[in-house]
């Protein structure tokens, strides 16, 4: 640190500027350096964001004075009780979970063949092209994709045009319309982890299985499936959690149907009942937490 303390170098004297002094002090104090690096981001993320999340958790136990509309601090389970007893809330909670489960199952069923084709059948060159074509739509805005389905599902849209001649009809703006759109939105998130886990399954393992007399289906069931299960679970985490928290898609293509997110939105806005909104918002978080704990053993979390 000779330069910084202003010693002579050659014949030239370097005068310590203010920046030099700070640099010298910082150099000798790594802990101070670390604190300075961390202070701004940790103040922001910790003191605002984490504090906001904790406050949300606490607010869920507050109530709202129905007369003045003011928050009443306290520890009341009222909000959580009405989540299960109020017929609107419990119906919406069950519907949201139902849609999330349905979307996840459909996405996994669609992802398996395409991931298998990509990982085990396609040539390396085609594989690269396929991975990029699956990734590309992920970059397009989520809102735009949901909106795109609004025109596809519309009464005068392409679904109606394609399906009416064969005696079917577009599902229109309904729960199934919302299910299709959500399944569409999260499909790439499900394909990619399944694909990467399939890619890691060594081909000679499959050959060994067939050499030992196993039929194709037996190999898939007994060798491939257990090996790619973490990938499937990882994919399902995405589609499940993203569906649980969604409220834009159901607004755009779901008609008048509501999901948990809508209830949160109306309770923050129109109903001005933040505690209820907080309690509802915790439902997806709690469900996801339970799901993540349940699947931790499969090793799926390393596949995210």
């Amino acid at each position: 640190m000779a330069l910084n303390s202003g010693a002579k170098v050659g014949s030239e004297e370097i005068r310590p500027t203010f920046a030099h002094r700070i640099s010298t002090v910082l150099y000798s104090k790594p802990k101070l350096r670390l604190r300075l690096l961390l202070s701004a981001p940790v103040i922001w993320l910790g003191l605002v964001y984490i504090a906001a999340l904790l406050a949300l958790l606490i607010t869920a136990f507050y109530t709202v004075d129905s007369f003045t509309g003011n928050l009443q601090p306290g520890f009341a389970l009222t909000n959580f009780i009405s989540l299960f007893t109020d017929s609107l809330y419990s119906a919406v909670t069950l519907r949201t979970i139902g849609i999330a489960v349905g979307v996840t199952i459909i996405d996994v069923l669609l992802a398996l063949p395409i991931a298998f084709f990509m990982a085990k059948i396609a040539s390396p060159k085609l594989r690269g092209v396929l991975v990029i074509s699956i990734l590309m739509p992920l970059w397009a805005s989520y809102l735009v994709k949901a909106y795109a389905w609004r025109s596809v599902l519309s009464n005068v849209g392409i679904f109606a045009w394609l399906l009416r001649p064969i005696g079917l009809d577009t599902p229109g703006y309904s729960l199934s319309g919302a299910g299709i759109t959500l399944g569409y939105l999260w499909l790439p998130y499900v394909i990619l982890p399944i694909y990467s886990s399939l890619e890691k399954v060594p081909n000679n393992l499959l050959e060994a299985s067939s050499d030992l007399g196993s039929k194709t289906w037996g190999t898939i069931r007994r060798i491939v499936f257990p090996l790619i299960l973490p990938g499937i679970v990882a994919g399902s985490i995405f589609s499940f959690s993203l569906t649980l928290g969604d409220y834009i898609t159901i607004n755009i293509v779901g008609g008048a149907n509501q999901m948990l997110g809508n209830l949160v939105y109306t309770n923050v806005g129109v109903a001005n009942n933040l505690p209820m909104a907080a309690a509802i918002a915790l439902v997806p978080v709690i469900i996801m937490f339970g799901y993540l704990t349940a699947v931790r053993k499969t090793g799926a979390l390393d596949n995210l």
């Binding site: 993320l45 964001y49 984490i50 906001a52 063949p113 395409i114 499909l187 067939s210 194709t216 915790l282």
Partner: protein, 265 residues
Amino acid sequence: MRISKSAKVVLASITSLILTVIYLPLLIVFLNSFNSSVNMDWPPSSFTLIWWQKAFSSTGLIDALSTSLLVAACSTIVALVLGTLLAMALSRYKFYGKNSVSLMIILPIALPGIVTGIALNNAFRTMLGFQLGLATVILAHATFCIVTVYNNALARLNRMGKNMEEASADLGAGIFTTFRLVTLPQLVSALVAGGLLAFGLSFDEIIVTTFTAGGGVQTLPIWILDNMFRPGKAPIVNVVAVFMVIVSIIPIYFAQKLTSKETKN
């Protein structure tokens, strides 16, 4: 395991069918932006450029676009500063609570947007006493953009190692000089990639935005959401949708290119 030829054909056709379905809706939005029917009747009976004309002459739309660009630019800058500081701290130091800090960085993007949205809404209004507006949107966006900058910078810093920085210090450079002449030049392409991703993330975001924007601020996604259900406005929404896909794909394309070039080297 032997896969029969017919099974291969079936799998190939499922794959191409799914890929078609993945691209079809986006293609339809593109075509509908030229569809002369206000209700977007399919198939289009004739094509027109009138919606594109109307979109570019709508002042509300231009305002929303400039708001979106401003929000994305500002939150990217905040995310760049905070993300770089975090990456330097976590890559160069060992300290108590390191895991909690890295969890804290991922949390805003790992939790459902609606949870982050109302948490920040509550924090801004009741804890900090802010009026919801442009500043709160920028802060909210910066919060979930930090992670993209952080991830890119951290990966680069770990790959760089400490040798060069130590050599620089041994040769007499102070901390700031080392950062300016040794660390930053090696870090800059990772920061550009992370910044581009942050920009794209912010430009597209809708859920957290609806909770932190208040009444007066209209970003492009909010404009789309507001106008989507208005009769007669849907064709212009198509134009904006096409435009948004293009604007969000360009930065991400370059970010991807930067990172893939680097992993090859």
